[in-house]
């Protein structure tokens, strides 16, 4: 039975994620850890690009970054693809730097898939998918965005994750 997490989005509804513990054990364990610690509560979807993805779990309103733990092993070679409505770990250029931030694909983003175990080919690790509240994701992808500080594509009105809970 795959674990499920609900993201309660302020004023928008609930997005339910089903996590693939078998194919992405480290990413799922890492994600659940942040959920249970309450890390995601009060964070925002800070980078929203319609037709691409919505990214969150790293910043509070005002673009204040929350501290996180260290990077985890990249599990993008698990066979799961960055298809529409899948959830994957965000990271820096370092393939094994994913910590708390995640993103929900709003298109089939083949170019994010694992190609090779090299810095440029590693890809982004998919660890679950949206099984409830796809309509909420569809609303979120279309919100108006702008520049905040040096960050682009930031929703003009904060999209806040009130709480993330294991169900």
């Amino acid at each position: 039975m795959n674990p499920k997490v609900e993201l309660h989005i302020q004023g928008q509804g609930v997005v339910t994620l089903e996590l693939d513990e078998q194919k992405a054990p480290k990413s799922v364990a890492n994600f659940l850890d942040y959920v249970k610690k309450g890390h995601y509560d009060g964070t925002i979807f800070h980078r929203v690009i319609d037709g691409f993805m919505i990214q969150g779990g790293g910043f509070e309103p005002g673009m204040k970054q929350r501290p996180t733990g260290g990077g985890i092993t990249n599990e993008a070679d698990n066979g799961l693809k960055n298809e529409k409505y899948t959830v994957a770990m965000a990271r820096t250029n370092d393939p094994h730097s994913a910590s708390a931030q995640f993103f929900i694909n709003v298109a089939d983003n083949d170019f994010l898939n694992h190609k090779s175990p090299t810095p440029q080919g590693w890809g982004y690790a998919v660890f679950g998918k949206v099984v409830g509240g796809q309509d909420v994701v569809d609303k979120l992808r279309g919100v108006a965005t702008g520049r905040k500080g040096f960050h682009d594509d930031v929703p003009l009105q904060d999209v806040v994750i009130d709480k993330a809970v294991v169900v």
Binding site: R47, I49, D50, G51, F52, M53, Q55, G58, Q65, A90, R91, T92, N93, S97, A98, S99, Q101, F103, N109, F111, L112, K115, P119, Q120, Y124, T145, G146, R147, F150, H151, D152, D153
Partner: protein
């Protein structure tokens, strides 16, 4: 012909500069295409008069352009390269995109940033800073002011690199539209730092150049060599 892009040359990365200098001195290409972001930043052609790193780079360009034709296309970092540098070095400036007829094929050359149309805010920014009005305004400021702006942008860029951004890619439909309009089969571009070859449809493909970093493990120093018969090879220079 050979193509390179995304070297992001800067004084703080001497190893990459040295590798580039060696490559420019040694290449036996009939023509060399610099497809954008050769420089990490370029605040105006007058920077070469200040001596220093940019003047060194200009000298490398000048020496190479004496041996073979060198074509320069701006990227999103060095779009303020202009006529003055071209005259001082012998570079030929190219518009983005440019079609190059070579052998039996037409090659569409681009930096690639204009094709990442998913990034709508970047495209709005790009439209603004590629405009004559903005550029005249910026270039009218003293060099020291422009260099301070560039330093600020570099700090932001470094901060963004640490911020786990997921980047979008070149849009397939847009790339196909460009290729059809240009009656070209192959698009060659950089910008995304994701070297690969993508079949766009039965007739069209796009080839992506690597970025350069001599200090990466393994080092990324590579040119794309295109032969007259149409074969494409990645030449490692490490």
């Amino acid at each position: 012909m050979e193509c390179i892009s995304d070297l992001h040359l800067q004084a703080a990365h001497p190893a990459t500069f040295q590798a580039w200098r060696r490559y420019m001195a040694a290449t036996q290409a009939d023509a060399l295409f610099l497809l954008g972001d050769l420089f990490e930043a370029w605040v105006g052609d007058d920077v070469i008069e200040a001596g220093g790193f940019e003047a060194e780079c200009a000298e490398v360009l000048r020496a190479t352009a004496q041996r073979l034709p060198v074509f320069f296309m701006a990227g999103n970092r060095d779009f303020l390269v202009g006529e003055r540098l071209a005259r001082a070095t012998g570079l030929a400036l190219l518009q983005d995109p440019t079609v190059f007829s070579f052998g039996e094929r037409r090659w569409l050359l681009s930096h690639g940033d204009a094709l990442c149309i998913g990034d709508t805010e970047y495209q709005a920014f790009r439209a603004q800073v590629r405009g004559a009005a903005w550029q005249q305004g910026f270039l009218a400021q003293p060099l020291a002011v422009r260099q301070a702006v560039a330093r600020g942008l570099r700090r932001e860029s470094e901060a963004l690199k640490r911020s786990d951004r997921v980047y979008s890619d070149v849009d397939t439909a847009a790339a196909l539209q460009w290729l059809r309009s240009a009656d070209a089969e192959v698009l060659v571009h950089g910008h995304t730092h994701q070297p690969a070859e993508h079949a766009l449809d039965a007739r069209h493909r796009r080839i992506v150049l690597t970025d350069w970093d001599a200090e990466a493990v393994p080092p990324r120093l590579e040119a794309l060599r295109i032969a007259r018969e149409g074969t494409v090879q990645r030449i490692g220079l490490a």
